[in-house]
């Protein structure tokens, strides 16, 4: 390998000119296009060239479209070599400082900033553990799940029913009832709200997260104690886009048995179906669990940011604007009444930040494509909760076709 090193720039067709950048330093060398070798050899070469033998690296290159793409196995290494024409530009990053979001479309234009900041920032000890790269967080579809396992008492369960884009109804009924509580004065019977019935095929039933006779304790962080059935109904309906219910399950046998400190790999059993009943973690609340999640494909990872809880609807009110200036249609003065014909609309969603918008599955990426990750990667096992993209597509097309009736 060392032989290849420092070969004066040989502009023959068989050679690939490589410009490798790590931090502020550049190295230039060339590779044989016909015999690129394996990735690990190449990796070792890079470490050698940059004189950073013990530094874990993330290797990226700029493809013909200017996108920053990773090189982390033989295949994409070969692809990079074969497409390089004539210069192969490499960008090296320390793994612990790596900015995973940097990869992707238009990333090179954005990248400037991030690479620079990666260079300028001192290595942060808190960021030692790199997130596992399986896919980008925003590519995941939020699904119904059990959340906050680590902060709730074992007897309680907090369930998030995510309805976005699904035609499935939430599908459950609640009723008044009474439950017995232990109080300092002894046992006390208190009124409560219970789940009375499931609608077959509804979201609540199909996810198996709720069951009949579960007592509802909270709705989206608000205790239901002292509220009437109608009030609780209204609260649930008003939060139906992102409903978080804390229940005391009627069946207490499936409770999580927690092993000490905050549940690194503890399994939380949920009643009912097994398809998605592995341990579910709230992405931000227990980072320790992510590793486990990555290694066990049956786990569901949720990448919600806390502020998402609030942002659910702002992004969704649909605003349709009449197109520019030209559509003024004067009404006929002679008619006793007249209707200006409807101008064509250019529907657009008021996406405020790309990140926020792309997390909610109903909102469409700015370029109009559906979130590609509905079926991406390790999520293949959660088909029971995955909404059919066709339906969403259908709906979308309905909204787009200009006659604005269907909203």
């Amino acid at each position: 390998m060392n032989k290849n090193h420092r070969v004066p720039s040989n502009r023959s067709l068989s050679a690939v000119e490589v410009k490798s950048k790590f931090g502020a330093e550049f190295r230039r060398f060339s590779l044989d296009r016909s015999k690129p070798g394996r990735f690990d050899e190449f990796y070792g070469l890079l470490q050698h060239v940059h004189r950073i033998p013990n530094v874990e690296l993330l290797v990226g290159y700029a493809d013909v479209h200017g996108d920053l793409l990773p090189i982390n196995n033989d295949d994409n290494y070969h692809k990079a070599i074969s497409t390089a024409s004539p210069l192969l530009r490499l960008f090296l990053q320390r793994k612990e400082e790596a900015d995973h979001l940097a990869f992707g479309t238009d990333s090179l234009t954005r990248k400037k900033n991030t690479v620079l900041s990666a260079v300028l920032l001192r290595p942060d000890p808190n960021r030692k553990k790199p997130p596992v790269i399986i896919s980008l967080p925003k590519d995941f579809r939020p699904v119904s799940s059990i959340i906050d396992v680590d902060i709730l008492p074992e007897t309680h369960r907090r369930v998030r029913l995510y309805k976005h884009g699904q035609e499935k109804p939430l599908g459950f009924y609640i009723r008044d009832g009474s439950s017995v509580r232990v109080t300092p004065q002894g046992l006390e019977k208190v009124p409560g709200i219970f789940i009375s019935r499931m609608v077959p095929g509804g979201l609540a039933e199909s996810t198996g997260l709720l069951a009949v006779n579960d007592e509802v304790l909270e709705v989206n962080g608000i205790e239901v104690a002292g509220k009437s059935l109608d009030q609780v109904t209204d609260m649930m309906i008003a939060n139906s886009h992102n409903l978080i219910i804390t229940v005391k399950p009627a069946n207490q046998r499936n409770n999580i048995v927690r092993s000490g400190g905050g549940g690194g790999g503890a399994a939380s059993g949920s009643s009912g179906r097994s398809s998605d009943s592995g341990a579910s973690y709230y992405g931000y609340s227990s980072p320790g669990g992510i590793g486990a999640a990555a290694s066990t494909p049956s786990h569901i990872i949720q990448n919600f940011h806390p502020e998402e809880l609030e942002s659910d609807e702002d992004d969704e009110d649909l605003v349709i604007e009449a197109g520019g200036e030209a559509e003024l249609i004067p009404c006929a003065p002679s008619a006793s009444y007249s209707m200006p014909s409807l101008p064509r609309y250019e529907p657009h969603l008021n996406l405020r930040t790309a990140a926020a918008a792309s997390t909610s599955s109903i909102s469409i990426n700015a370029n109009g494509t559906l979130p590609t990750s509905a079926s991406s990667g390790s999520l293949g096992n959660i088909t029971s909760t995955t909404p059919s993209p066709d339906r969403a597509m259908e709906r979308r097309s309905l909204e787009e076709d200009g006659t604005v009736i269907t909203l």
Partner: protein, 1066 residues
């Protein structure tokens, strides 16, 4: 999740103080006519009238503005009331056979709006008494009280009972005088044998004190016997052996004769001769409406007059077959005979006459009749006995109220013209004699400004009420029926009885005269008024009704005959697959019609399909009206008489909207068929039936608990296209630099449509640019600018555009006439959209969400009504805040700051069961203009508009105030003449003058919301004040502060607990 907790505003003590200076909740007065009155009383000395109701309330009225209210602890009907004349005391008999004594007492001093007011007078119950049952007899029917007689000395109360006994109670202690009781046996003994015939005399029907000889009373028994009883000697002076079942008795003033009325519809005059102890026959006897069987004369009055023969007044006695269902009262004097024909039952009546003993004649001046639905006063001194307009107790519900609208700070010019129009209306039929009930003195300062309350009614009328003061008085009535061709001839207005009585008097017997205005029957339900909008500066009124009619009216002082322009606007716009199965549209009159002075119709717009109008708004400056139904909305230029826009809001799945309200008939038919089938099915063998019933029972038990389905709102809910609100605003819709007229419409399914309008001659921005082209065709245009679909799809309750400073835009003309501060057009505007579930502020023109408050998601209640209100501070003269007031389906008021949408205060206002109350609530609008004007006035009772109204019964409005500064409440004094009895409070001063104001102290009186004092700081303070006695102003203030703070802290603690999502208790 944590964010829910932290988003709450921390309690900033500075802010808390400001809040206290701004907000306070008070229920002040009840307007209108008491619901279901059951008793009437009159105090001739104090000139006060009392009305008792079936729900146990007592209301005392004097001169206009003088009002007192009391509420019995039990909600039992008040059956009788008697004043202790001149003492400010009142006896009430309830349906549960208890007797209560009430007193007007001076309450503790109190602070209102930063000003100390001392010695308010309120009505309080002093003691109560109930007759013991006879020993050994369990049922108290024998001792059930039938009549009460209060002797003129006010020291003795005679109680007649069902069992025929008369009991005597000491007053005012209400203690039974033992051994004095007159049982029936004592009377029977002295009866002649042939009259006795072994039968009981029946209940005591009437007790009357001899007008000249104090110790003697007349006791009338149901069977017909009348006894003149001497209380001192305990001996029957005279026996009148009547044979006819007795209904009532009345003395003639001299005491030489009395009159009895009977169940056969007749009355008899009896002479009281001193000789013979028995009288068998009356002097004269007659059945006025005979000879065919007649109904009983329930009550009769005999009043002597100086001018001639006595006046005889009696209720009932109508011929049973032909007029048995009429509610009548007859006035007779000599040959003059009038049968007053009322539309509702006669509860009781009295005459106002001279009571001084030295006067020789009664000389009745007025007759006051309490009917079930209204109060009618007849002037007895003017020939022809015309009726007298009542200054209060107006029957708001003369036709059912369908909507209401409040206009504050009415310009004096408009006020004057309205009053004149009203006077012209009632000119002929009423006398202008002064109101006969004039007790007490109204101490309330004259209102600084005039307030109008407009009520729309089922019969197509709009009534204008003076809501400036404590008493709600009618000003003017507008009928819209004359615009249409209806079944009854519109030329003779059924509401106007002025022309018929004379004509009828000749031929008809009895000589009926229709009196009163309560008329619950509507000629055509389509005439009903649904929405009202008034522009007080341009005197334009828009009235919209049940059959999709929208009428634009202008004020005119002259009578005019003209044809009303008619336009039809098709809101469906050829949408296919819909057929309207509801009512037809009203047929407009094709001939010119005469319109009296007042509001006269200019244009009639009829929506197609003719569904009920659900929203209407008027912008007089732009000559535009917008209206919405369940199918869509339209925009109409009433100046040029052309429709500018029609937009259908229907969802394709919305089938219900198309069929109209009448399609329910079909389902009735269906359900009938089903029930028949069920019956047929049940006609199987008995055994099977039992089994079936058991099965049904088991089934029922299974589904017994109330369930609620949890589903998000879907787009295909029925009636999603109903237009809920419309709003005009001059704002930035197209871009951030050019503003212009816009129209906003919100629907039941959470859609908001914003149109940019081009109004000729209005707007500076784009209109100017295009003016060259648009000059020729000078008509308004509308271009759709934005459509907003709220994702939660909740009905849009209200839309309001806020200016650059975050204040609501002023009303049309307010800015241009310099009545309000001009809106800030330099900074970005925003729009506040209130849906049933959340409040949200969007920036303009981009329409991106700025702030929001998810009320339903947090509290589980839904927004019902929303209003922008200005609150001014009690402490700083010129400090005021714009606040969003929001009434929820639970009947509580939430106040939010704008545009930050931070929750400020919450008050319980209406019971959550009182759905009609919540639905009828109207807020008074913000009044910047009045703020300006009232600056020079003193700060005591700046009567501006921080109040609202809602219907507590079909006939009554409750007025409430949310402002700490402004209260409209009774303020009156009464000169009492009360002997120093056991009462500890008022011993020292005689006579007692009690200036002050009345208000319902929440501890004892009136409000049905007694159990919720914690949320209203002021009433809470009152409670405590009652027990502590004297406090200075400053003390009160501090006290209020501490109470409030403590309460707030408590609330916060509760909230904190409520929001602690991390750890759940158990």
């Amino acid at each position: 999740m944590m964010k829910f907790r932290f988003r709450r505003q921390g309690t900033d003590p500075q802010r808390e103080k400001i809040k206290q200076e701004l907000f306070a909740f008070n229920k002040t007065v009840e307007h209108g006519f008491p619901h279901q009155p059951s008793a009437l009383a009159f105090d001739p000395k104090l000139q006060l009238m009392a009305i008792g109701t079936k729900s146990g309330a007592i209301k005392i009225y004097g001169a206009p503005g003088v009002e007192f209210t009391g509420l019995h602890k039990d909600t039992t009907a008040v059956t009788q009331m008697h004043f202790l004349p001149g003492q400010g005391r009142l006896l009430s008999l309830l349906d549960d056979n208890t007797i209560h004594l009430w007193e007007l007492v001076a309450g503790p001093p109190r602070e209102v709006g930063g000003v100390k007011r001392e010695g308010m007078v309120c009505l309080q119950e002093v003691c109560s008494y109930s007759l013991p049952g006879r020993p050994g007899i369990e049922s108290c029917s024998a001792t059930r009280v039938t009549v009460l007689l209060l002797l003129r000395s006010c020291e003795l109360l005679c109680v007649g009972t069902e069992g025929g006994g008369v009991y005597f109670l000491d007053l005012p202690r209400l203690s039974l005088k033992d051994g004095q009781t007159l049982l029936q046996d004592q009377v029977t003994q002295s009866l002649p044998e042939d009259y006795r015939c072994g039968k009981s005399l029946g209940p005591v029907e009437s007790l009357q004190e001899h007008p000249q000889q104090p110790g003697k009373i007349l006791i009338g028994y149901s069977r017909g016997l009348v006894v003149l009883w001497d209380l001192s000697t305990r001996h029957a002076n005279h026996l009148f052996l009547g044979k006819q079942q007795l209904e009532s008795l009345v003395w003639e003033r001299s005491g030489n004769s009395f009159v009895s009325s009977h169940s056969d519809g007749g009355y008899s005059v009896w002479a009281v001769a001193s000789g013979n102890p028995y009288t068998h026959q009356p002097v004269s006897s007659s059945i006025p409406y005979g000879p065919f069987p007649c109904k009983a004369i329930n009550k009769i009055l005999w009043r002597t007059a100086q001018s001639g023969s006595p006046v005889l007044l009696y209720s009932g006695g109508m011929p049973r077959a032909s007029y048995g269902d009429r509610h009548c009262l007859t006035i007779q004097q000599d040959k003059e005979h009038v049968t007053l024909d009322f539309t509702s039952r006669v509860i009781d009546f009295f005459t106002v006459h001279s009571v001084e003993l030295e006067k020789e004649f009664d000389d009745p001046s007025a007759l006051v009749v309490l009917l079930e639905e209204e109060l009618v006063v007849i002037d007895l001194q003017t020939p022809g006995w015309p009726s007298l307009p009542t200054p209060y107790l107006a029957p708001l519900h003369s036709s059912a109220i369908t909507c209401s609208c409040h206009v504050s700070n009415v310009p004096p010019k408009l006020w004057e013209r309205l009053v004149n129009a009203g006077k012209a209306q009632q000119g002929q039929q009423h006398t202008h004699r002064s109101w006969p009930i004039c007790g007490g003195k109204n101490m309330a300062p004259l209102p600084k400004q005039q307030e109008l309350l407009l009520t729309g009614h089922e019969d197509g009328t709009v009534r204008f009420w003076d809501a400036s003061g404590v008493a709600l008085t009618p000003i003017y009535k507008l009928s819209t029926a004359s615009v249409f061709h209806t079944d009854c001839d519109p030329s003779d207005d059924p509401q106007d009885p002025s022309n018929d009585p004379d004509a009828q008097q000749e031929e008809e017997w009895p000589p009926f005269r229709k009196v009163g205005c309560f008329d619950p029957y509507s000629d055509d339900p389509r005439l009903g008024i649904q929405k009202i909008s008034l522009c007080k500066y341009s005197n334009k009124l828009v009235v919209a009704g049940t059959a999709g009619q929208v009428i634009v009216l202008g004020l005119s002082d002259e009578r005019s005959d003209h044809l009303v322009d008619v336009s039809v606007v098709d809101l469906l716009q050829d949408r296919e697959g819909f057929t309207w199965k509801g009512h037809d549209r009203l047929e407009p009159r094709l001939k010119p019609a005469p319109f009296p002075p007042g509001f006269q119709p200019l244009v009639l717009v009829q929506c197609l399909p003719p569904a009920s109008v659900t929203a209407v708004t008027l912008h007089a400056e732009w000559n535009l009206i917008a209206f919405g139904t369940s199918h869509g909305f339209g925009l109409f230029d009433y100046h040029r008489r052309n429709a500018v826009l029609a937009r259908c809001t229907l969802h394709p799945n919305d089938s219900l909207a198309m069929e109209g309200p009448l399609s329910r008939v079909k389902s009735l038919k269906k359900s009938l068929r089903q029930s028949f089938r069920r019956i047929r099915k049940s006609r199987v063998s008995g055994k099977k039936r039992v089994q079936e019933a058991n099965a049904a029972l088991a089934e029922q038990e299974e589904v017994a608990p109330v369930q609620r389905r949890i589903e998000p709102r879907s787009a295909d809910d029925s009636l999603s296209g109903v237009v809920r609100c419309l709003c005009f605003a001059d704002t930035f819709l197209r871009d951030g630099t050019h503003h212009g007229p816009t129209l906003w419409a919100g629907t039941n399914s959470g859609s908001v449509y914003a149109y940019a309008l081009e109004v000729p001659g209005v707007g500076l921005g784009r209109v100017c640019e295009r003016s060259g082209a648009g000059e020729g065709s000078a008509c308004a245009e509308a271009v759709l600018g934005k459509e907003i679909q709220l994702m939660h799809r909740a009905p849009v309750v209200s839309i309001c555009v806020l200016d650059g400073r975050g204040k609501p835009l002023p009303d049309p003309y307010e800015a241009s006439r310099d009545l309000a501060t001009a809106p800030d057009m330099t900074n970005a505007h925003s729009v506040l959209i209130a849906s049933e579930e959340q409040l949200k502020v969007f920036s303009l023109p981009k329409v991106s969400a700025k702030t929001k408050f998810k009320l339903t998601a947090h509290e589980g209640c839904r927004v019902r009504k929303v209003a922008m209100v200005v609150f001014s501070s009690t402490a700083q003269e010129d400090y005021s805040e714009h606040t969003l007031v929001c009434l929820t389906n639970l009947g509580d008021m939430h106040l939010f700051s704008i545009p930050g949408l931070r929750p400020q205060v919450r008050y319980d206002c209406i019971r959550k069961e009182d759905i009609s109350g919540i639905a009828s609530c109207v807020f008074t609008k913000n009044g910047q203009g009045e703020e300006k004007k009232s600056h020079e006035g003193q700060n005591t009772a700046r009567d501006c508009s921080k109040v609202g109204f809602y219907l507590i019964s079909p006939s009554e409005y409750e007025r409430f105030s949310l402002s700490a500064k402004v209260l409209t409440e009774p303020l009156c004094s009464i000169h009492l003449d009360r002997p120093p009895h056991f009462c500890t409070l008022n011993v020292e001063s005689l006579p007692l003058s009690l200036p002050g104001q009345t208000e319902e102290p929440p501890s004892t009186l009136s409000s049905p919301l007694l159990d919720t004092p914690l949320d209203s700081p002021l009433s809470c303070a009152d409670l405590t004040l009652d027990s502590t006695g004297e406090l200075t102003v400053e003390d009160v203030r501090d006290f209020l502060t501490t109470v409030d703070e403590a309460e707030n802290n408590l609330k916060n603690i509760k909230e904190e607990e409520g929001r602690s999502t991390g750890i759940l208790i158990n």
